[in-house]
Amino acid sequence: MTGDPVRAGPGRPAWDPNDVTGPAARGRAAEGSGIAMTDTQTSLPGRLAAVPGGEAETAVRADALSKRYGDVTAVREVSFSIRRGEVFAFLGPNGAGKTTTVRMLCTLARPSAGRASVAGFDVARQPRAVRRRIGLVFQEQTLDDRLTAEQNLRFHAVLYHVPRAQVRQRIDRALELVALADRRHDLVSTFSGGMARRLEIARGMLHTPAVLFLDEPTVGLDPQTRALVWEDVLRMRREEQVTIFLTTHYMDEAEYADRLAIIDYGRIVATGTPDELKRQVGADTVELVTSDDAAAARRLAAAGFRVRSGEEHLVVFAEDGEGLVPGLIEAAGVRVRSVHVHRPTLDDVFLHYTGRQIRDEPAGRALPMMARARTARR
């Protein structure tokens, strides 16, 4: 389910970055805390009205979007919608059509068929209106490394029509969002890859876009920096209520998303929250090691559990493995030595839907180089 009335409405979604449960749970949490709501007071001012008319809660919508390059179909009839304030991930291997979809949504590539709207504007018919309302972070770096961080941001502010009186304030805020305020006057050429990437994300937020697109934001970064980038992304969502669309081929990152779509060979094969997708793949498994497995198995089966006896342990299949643990221990009737609950991972999900596993790229930076060579030749 995607509907979540609690989080609807402006300036609200408050959530704990450690909380990787679905949006529904997050919404409930927001009711109670109320602490994070104060963050909205420091929001960037003057956000463009995101969506005119009735579709106030839909930030991005794609209907049967397709893109062909000659005989090659890069994206086939992709449909999805993203609600305001959501972090939506496109998960798939390289070449699955992730970047092509982003390019269409950002008006950089014309759809061959189908329609899409971003912030309420049609990408094919109102590209300027769309571009004013989106932030864009490419796979490859697009900073001027002979300018300082601040100069890069100022350049961007002018290009995106940030009112003069607000430029300074927004640069302060954007740098603060990615914790680079102290590097403000440093040349970008002195930045590490991770810092540059985070500066680009800040730049993408500078003009308070309705939707921030991040194309493989963490590719080629070390795990620590990837975590930092994610902190930035989630902080932005929390404090600026921006809708975030990102692509990734890292399974663990897709977990951070409120919802995700798995794309393979240009097709969306599954959409849902990480939990929903995992549930579709199958039940949790609980492994029990007891003092008398045979007796425990009989009793558990009698109590209505689906049990399978393994060589060294019992396996119980259940929808909510963790919730069942106390009941299982009680029903087993013998001493339980250890319990291990295994929840399906997104790897299982991906395998389930595509019959393959995502291969990790050997060298992170090889990809953008190739992508650049490709666009250059065109």
Binding site: L48, E55, Q126, R128, E140
Partner: protein, 288 residues
């Protein structure tokens, strides 16, 4: 009706005025970036003087002794305005090169995906490069006393005006060429094939009178010819140039036996500048 942008109140006229203001702001920012980058690469500032100074002294003294002076007016004095023009030209072109760099380092995309007009971007880029080229060319005027060329403030102002026009035309040309080039190596090839012939065939280094027919045709086809001539004539106007020397070291361009006045030369340069600018705008980011 759901498509009406809330961020743009007011009528069509107000919108246009607003978008013109934003375009001008964009042009200003792109210009500023060129200037910032220029001052950040001091090596480039210095190196861009080496070539013209070398040309001035090596050719001026080397060839000068061969050519000799006519009624006290020597080749160095003839060469000087040409070298100033050359400085402007090569600086303008090397500024335009930066587009190829911008592409290599991805920054071009940052500009091209922004909701701004290409005209605003190209104008900023061109004016930035042209400003730098003009400043460099004007700094070369400091060598005038060494060469024995007399300058007045009026002449300097006129020279700056012509330099600026020439620089705009040439930077726009460079932007146009650079927009169609994907790699750095490609650019240097094109420059060897285009810039150097244009430089040498512009009359910057030798008088355009009494040339063989084919060379006369080539020089008259070269847009730079019409920019170099008025610059030289403006400088010559402040010198004492005896009639025999004026005949030998002719500053003007003759077309079908008719010597073009400065106004026509400047007009032709303006047309070239406009055409190159238009080409640059249409070509900008063509490869994206």
């Amino acid at each position: 009706m759901a498509a009406i942008a809330l961020g743009q109140p007011g009528g069509r006229l107000a919108d246009e005025r607003e978008s013109l203001r934003e375009d001008l702001r964009t042009t200003g920012m792109v210009w500023e970036r060129e200037i910032i980058r220029f001052f950040r690469t001091r090596a480039r500032i210095l190196s861009s003087f080496i070539q013209p100074v070398l040309f001035l002294f090596v050719l001026g003294y080397g060839m000068g002794s061969l050519v000799g002076a006519t009624a006290g007016f020597d080749f160095k004095k003839f060469l000087f305005p040409g070298i100033v023009a050359m400085t402007v030209m090569s600086t303008a072109i090397s500024s335009a090169i930066s587009i190829v760099w911008d592409r290599e380092f991805g920054f071009l995309r940052e500009m091209l995906v922004a909701p701004v007009s290409r005209t605003a971007l190209v104008s900023g880029k061109t004016l930035g490069g042209a400003s730098i080229a003009t400043v460099q060319g004007t700094i070369m005027l400091a060598l005038a006393p060494l060469i024995g060329v007399h300058l007045t403030w009026l002449v300097v102002l006129q020279v700056i005006g012509i330099e600026l026009l020439m620089a705009v035309a040439l930077t726009a040309f460079g932007v146009f060429v650079a927009s169609h080039i994907q790699r750095m190596e490609g650019f240097s090839v094109v420059m060897q094939l285009l810039l150097f012939p244009m430089l040498f065939l512009s009359g910057a280094l030798f008088p355009l009178s009494g040339l063989p027919g084919w060379l006369t045709v080539l020089t008259r086809l070269n847009p730079l010819t019409y920019a170099v001539a008025p610059l030289r004539q403006v400088v010559f106007a402040a010198q004492h140039v005896p009639p025999i020397a004026a005949a030998r070291f002719s500053a003007g361009v003759t077309l079908f036996g008719y010597t073009l006045p400065d106004s026509v030369n400047i007009g032709i340069t303006c047309v070239f500048a406009a055409v190159f600018l238009a080409l640059a705008v249409t070509g900008f980011g063509a490869a994206e």
